[in-house]
């Protein structure tokens, strides 16, 4: 077995660009999924009954579907339903955002519920509106409590971006497998892919552990 690791270095530009795409996908998805998650959580908690039911159905549906299926579904079905095609990157981003928004919504709902009712009642008794009470009293405390959960969702998301490789988004997994197919350097490229993910993911996982210790809820 003759191994030729130089293939990894030769394709460093492609791999660097692909790594950047992986991070871009992670950041963009979170940037969409945090505000949308708060919105969906608020709808589930405070909206009129039919809206609340719709928000619940959305959350339960996407939490109970494999992400890879959502990615395929978005790729094949959305262009047919809407009549216009999106580039793979945007499709992948949409699928990831739909998935992570559902998880975030559940996180935010749990966080908001963990703040005792008496606090928002007291805020409203002081003359605040419901929105003010939520924004000034409940959310600041809730956000601190859910930070560890959002952090671990972030790491999951970072790893899950690899799944959009199935619709040819040239992030790290797709790019590595393309180079593998072109050069037939299977072991080298797949190991390089695993090592790059490890190098990037390991510090993030450790950071999450630290955040969980730092922001642990103690009552």
């Amino acid at each position: 077995m003759a191994l030729d690791w130089s293939v990894v270095w030769q394709h460093r530009d492609v791999l660097a660009a692909a790594t950047a795409t992986t991070f871009l996908l992670t950041i963009a998805t979170m940037a969409i999924a945090v505000p949308c998650g708060i919105l969906v959580a608020a709808l589930r908690l405070y909206a009129a009954a039919p809206v609340r039911a719709a928000a619940t159905a959305y959350v339960e549906l996407f939490r109970n579907l494999p992400l890879i299926l959502v990615v395929y579904w978005a790729f094949y079905v959305v262009p047919i339903l809407t009549g216009f095609g999106l580039p793979p990157l945007a499709t992948g981003l949409a699928a990831l955002a739909l998935n992570v928004t559902a998880y975030n919504a559940e996180t935010f709902r749990a966080g908001i519920n963990s703040i005792r009712r008496g606090q928002s009642e007291a805020a409203m008794a002081l003359g605040m509106s419901r929105v003010q009470a939520l924004r000034r009293v409940v959310l600041p405390q809730a956000l601190r409590r859910i930070l560890p959960v959002v952090a671990s969702t972030w790491v999951s998301l970072f790893k899950d971006t690899s799944l959009v490789s199935v619709i040819a988004v040239s992030e790290l997994a797709y790019a590595s497998m393309q180079i593998r197919a072109q050069t037939y350097r299977v072991l080298e490229m797949l190991t390089a892919m695993a090592v790059i993910y490890w190098l990037l993911g390991y510090p993030q996982a450790k950071l999450v552990d630290w955040i969980q210790r730092r922001y642990a809820v103690t009552e």
Partner: protein
């Protein structure tokens, strides 16, 4: 737009076999990763000192690497290293086990650590051996407390089997891709697959909650 769901009824045998493979893969990797997770956690907590950093490194590495990468590596690269080619199903079982066992180990560890150390000390003071303490005092309470987390791990396992489609395991996701490609009716096929996955996963999450509510009192101390 017309939908023609006859594509589902026309391929029900093919898609049904995919559902069975999904269930078999999820069930088997659920059992193997649970067993491996228990061993890893017990070894980490009670094993020799040199073993601990090795297990911690393994667990943290699996938390850092996507399951897709583990599966693809097991299927394509492992044969080059080990000289044995595993059929897709067994490669998927191995890859999923290696990945999910790390998560199972963390759940087991958290469950065991949630039992107050005073109980262990009291049992040791009463003359129990270390093994007896773990088996009779710690685990009976810890296992009940682990249940909800194992429930979500089981649902993660079922979802992760869909990723095995990438290495051509003929489970539901893969079979759906094939039917969608042949029939040019992706909407019907993928929507059907969504429905099936939802019907598989929703009862799992809900069922575990129900079971836990009935046995939660056994874990209190």
């Amino acid at each position: 737009m017309d939908f023609d769901f006859s594509v589902i009824t026309g391929h029900w045998h093919f898609l049904g076999s995919g559902v069975l493979v999904t269930l078999a893969l999820a069930g088997l990797s659920g059992i193997t990763s649970l067993a491996a997770g228990f061993i890893a956690a017990l070894a980490r907590l009670y094993g020799p000192r040199w073993l601990r950093p090795v297990i911690v490194l393994y667990i943290d590495s699996m938390r850092a690497v996507p399951v897709l990468v583990v599966l693809v590596w097991t299927f394509f690269a492992l044969p080059i290293v080990a000289g044995v080619t595993l059929p897709p199903f067994w490669a998927a079982l191995l890859g999923l086990t290696v990945h999910l066992a790390a998560y199972a180990a963390e759940i087991v560890r958290a469950g065991i650590e949630s039992v107050r150390p005073g109980q262990t000390r009291a049992a040791l003071a009463l003359g129990m051996s270390r093994v007896q303490v773990v088996r009779r005092i710690v685990l009976p309470q810890a296992v009940v407390r682990m249940l909800p987390a194992f429930g979500s791990l089981l649902s993660v396992t079922i979802k992760d089997t869909a990723i095995a489609s990438v290495i051509a395991v003929p489970e539901l996701m893969r079979q759906s891709e094939t039917v969608a490609g042949q029939s040019f009716q992706p909407i019907e096929v993928y929507t059907f697959a969504m429905l099936v996955y939802f019907l598989l996963l929703f009862p799992v999450t809900r069922g575990v909650d129900l079971v836990y509510r009935r046995v939660a009192h056994l874990g209190r101390s």
